[in-house]
Symmetry: C2
Amino acid sequence: MKETNRQIVLASRPQGKVSSANFRLVESAVPEVKEGQVLVRNHFLSVDPYMRGRMDDSKSYAASQELDAVMGGGTVGVVLESRNPAFKTGQSVVGMLGWQLYGISDGSTLRVIDTTHIPMPAYLGVVGMPGATAWYGLNQIIAPKAGQTVVVSAASGAVGSVVGQLASRHGCRAVGIAGGEEKCRAVVEEFGFDACVDYKAGNLYKDLKAATPEGIDGLFENVGGDCFDSALARMNPFGRVALCGLIAGYDGQEIALRNVRSILMNRLLVKGFIVSDHLEMWPKALGEIGMLVATGALKYRETVAQGLEAAPEAFMGLLSGRNFGKQVVKLI
Amino acid sequence: MKETNRQIVLASRPQGKVSSANFRLVESAVPEVKEGQVLVRNHFLSVDPYMRGRMDDSKSYAASQELDAVMGGGTVGVVLESRNPAFKTGQSVVGMLGWQLYGISDGSTLRVIDTTHIPMPAYLGVVGMPGATAWYGLNQIIAPKAGQTVVVSAASGAVGSVVGQLASRHGCRAVGIAGGEEKCRAVVEEFGFDACVDYKAGNLYKDLKAATPEGIDGLFENVGGDCFDSALARMNPFGRVALCGLIAGYDGQEIALRNVRSILMNRLLVKGFIVSDHLEMWPKALGEIGMLVATGALKYRETVAQGLEAAPEAFMGLLSGRNFGKQVVKLI
């Protein structure tokens, strides 16, 4: 017998920092499955920095999240009932069913996954959107050569940790920026970066300079503000910047760039991107990463929150850097 | 009989704004022509914004100008004496002989020019480095499609005026930013831009918004600061920015960018460039532009200062926007 569906909806738009008052838990009946549809019991849901932009009413690369609608987002789960010939009961699927226990889909955004060698939540992280993001920005924008230095901010996060490991595999010097000694230690010891700078230690530019004695050839920027500015000041001629996120400014903080001259003088390429513009590259990206994960060659970490009710808190923690690696919420 | 050579050398590095005290006029003998060398009587010399960067001792894309050495820069003139088989007495040549009446060269940077249909000073402007700069940034970075909107700052200048005319020829809406009513009027009436915004009128963002009702697809940025920031706020998704200069910041002024979010949200490409990195494109660029100039299809303006002694003042005027079109100094 099906339980009642539970969902988290956007109750109000944040004024600056997100608070739990911006969310509301609601109950509803589990929907009937119509012809062509699939009913999925979600096992894990994803919380990601891009969701912050969607909570505002302003123009963002992601369409605005509607008030009183279920919070959107990536999910993995199991097919409970299918009236769509492409899916069978019991199959594991990844999709975009949002912050709820049960989701219904016409199948167009669902994909059957193989959980034999790769566990289910990894499809929300290293073998999902964050992994594809890391792969795209590094390979298609930074395009590093062996011996070059690649810097990535938010280096212990779902995207950053993959960027550094892929850069190392290209023969690059991989340097991370992360918050706190513990994260920095793991970035080096667990993910194999050559160095990691702790932005909370208060000497960001000086420490970054010491960690990049040959300058920076590729910057994978997730944070913005001081991180971005300090890295710009270390860029080598003809360096490339993959601008993936500006988490330092998601609550409306000032994130002005001062070292604009470096873009001109060093003839830099700065490219903003969002991986959903490049779906055609996902099979190649996730094929490569999936192989590395399945064979243990690529490490990843997850922070798992328990229960649907924990999703808002997990999301707020992500925005202030409390997570380590991919933040997911376990629903079952 | 040859007169004495006169030269302007860099006497001291500017602290902030350039002043005439930074230059010194010196006299010296006209050098003897050795085997393989060419002696040129300069007729015109070029003053360009990039020279400001070279006057500082700091890292710039152009190597630092040495103290007490002749100010470097582009020149056109006539061969007086040649001991190099590639050049004959009486030929007109363009080169990099600097701020002096006579220059000597091994010929490697000299190029014979045809002044039948194109006057000599145009080889320092529209059919020279500034023209090649406009062509490269527009065609190789912005790569505009018909119907798109292209904005260029310093639109009445040697580079900007060419950018807008080439953009119009691509079927684009060409919008300039320039300082003062008179310049703006000429940008529209003489160079055929669709609109020009006067940044001195005090409503830059509002006026730029009105002039770009469909947003901006390509930005050719020569100025930086408020110009750049206002334009960033009008960029369309997948817009391209050719960052060519930051004249608003050449004396050390604050030129921070606030609209960094636009680069991410609109997935912009921002590319710093300097045309001397792309010498392989010059023949194609200047071939096209030369044809347009010779047939009268491309308009240009020059501001001509008279006499070597006038070069510092002409240069300072250029940095504060007193010139219109290409600033040259006539030496003969």
